[in-house]
């Protein structure tokens, strides 16, 4: 469960801005997907659901699925590669983003 990305409406007049230096928590307006050159791909055959990658993901983009595997939210993955490096079973591989288009 993660906060949803919402469209940001540019304020037209001064009263549209927050009245104090406070703002709604968990308010996301942009994604981080464009940061990535390599993307982690999970092999569900090899994954045993140890959740090591889930623990050490800096962005929290790895989540559990109902069948005790993991899935990745590519909207916010920055492609750091920690999950693939830490996976003891090599169930995650880093694939170059551009390769998919070829």
């Amino acid at each position: 469960m993660r906060p949803k990305v919402r469209a940001y409406k540019r304020p037209d007049k001064i009263s549209d801005y927050p009245s104090t230096p406070a703002f709604e928590s968990g308010h996301l307006v942009s994604k981080n997907a464009g940061w990535r050159t390599f993307k982690p791909v999970v092999d569900p055959e090899k994954c045993v659901g140890c959740l090591r990658c889930y623990l050490v993901c800096p962005d929290g983009v790895i989540s559990r699925t109902e069948d005790n595997k993991v899935e990745i939210d590519y909207d916010f993955c920055k492609g750091c590669g920690i999950c693939a490096h830490e996976c003891k079973l090599d169930a995650i591989t880093m694939k170059k983003e551009a390769d998919e288009d070829e």
Partner: protein, 301 residues
């Protein structure tokens, strides 16, 4: 160990909710792992206080707000004071079942925020102070802090013919905090996430001030590959350059006591900030480590 293992949390028991999401930290940032796991254990009813550091710079970017819990930015030296204030304010409002946590960097803890931290511990306020230690002022461009280890190349401790980088060892922050007679203090590393989860869970149940000091790697400042962040934090513990310990009831306890240390050279060589070190500099590091461990093994086991 049996007494303390009661606080163990299995990864599958953690909440599915993400309270630190969509932040703009560098890929492979170690500190974000610490903050994310901490909030997962502490839960939704948490007030976070962050001084000027990377974690506030990457999450409070109007109109984006990466914290899904209450969070606010404190003046650089005021994390401890603001934590006390938040705890007092919540108490005055009659709030129940809430946590107050501060996330400060190593500079914001050992140098700039030190007096406020000391004051908060002295007052005995019910707060949790987490120092994520990436061993320099990373947010402002890698300047040396009180927790920068010997031989580190930073912009204010350049390495050259005459100097090996930083010429001072790390401040003994954990022992300084423990010397206040704090309710509970512990060190951790993002390389040992399960140990960190246990200490967080324990910290949650302790009434009074709690201090957690977690080693968190920084690929940008350490000059390391992004995928090595967690491995490096683990290597630091395995090679004896960092330690996992706890302080409670006037007693220190060493959690991990390696029979044989992993290679220090291996740990140092993976990082750009140590690339310049000569053999004699590495010997200084090893000598300092051995002295420290001799003392810890004598009295902390």
């Amino acid at each position: 160990m049996t007494r303390m293992s009661n606080y163990n949390i299995r990864p599958k028991d953690l909440t599915d909710q993400e309270f630190f999401y969509g932040h703009k930290a560098c890929a492979g940032c170690g500190a974000t792992i610490a903050v994310r796991l901490a909030l997962k254990v502490l839960g939704e009813r948490t007030f976070s206080v962050l001084p000027a550091n990377c974690m506030s710079a990457v999450s409070f970017i109007y109109p984006q707000m990466a914290f899904a819990t209450n969070a606010m930015i404190a003046p650089f030296p005021a994390t401890g004071a603001m934590l006390s204030g938040v705890a007092a304010g919540a108490k005055a409002l009659g709030l129940k079942d809430f946590q107050t946590v501060g996330f400060a960097g190593d500079g914001g803890t050992a140098d700039i925020g030190f007096q406020a931290l000391s004051g908060a511990i002295d007052r005995g306020d019910d707060i949790l102070y987490i120092c994520y230690d990436n061993e320099a002022y990373m947010n402002t461009g890698i300047q040396k802090s009180g927790l920068t280890p010997y031989g580190t190349k930073t912009t204010t401790s350049p390495a050259g013919e005459n100097l090996p980088g930083s010429v001072k060892h790390k401040k003994n922050m954990f022992e300084i905090v423990a010397a206040h007679g704090i309710a509970y203090a512990a060190t951790a590393s993002i390389g040992y996430p399960n140990d960190f989860l246990r200490k967080l869970n324990k910290a949650k149940s302790v009434r009074g001030p709690v201090y957690l000091h977690i080693l968190a790697s920084c690929p940008t400042g350490w000059g390391s590959k992004t995928e090595l962040s967690v491995e490096l934090a683990k290597d630091a513990v395995d090679s004896g350059l960092w330690y996992l310990a706890e302080y409670e009831n006037d007693e220190f306890k060493l959690n991990v006591n390696p029979k044989e240390f992993a290679s220090v050279e291996n740990y140092l060589s993976k990082q750009g900030r140590f690339k310049h070190l000569k053999e004699e500099d590495i010997n200084v590091i090893i000598e300092h480590r051995d002295k420290k461990w001799e003392k810890m093994r004598k009295t902390w086991l």
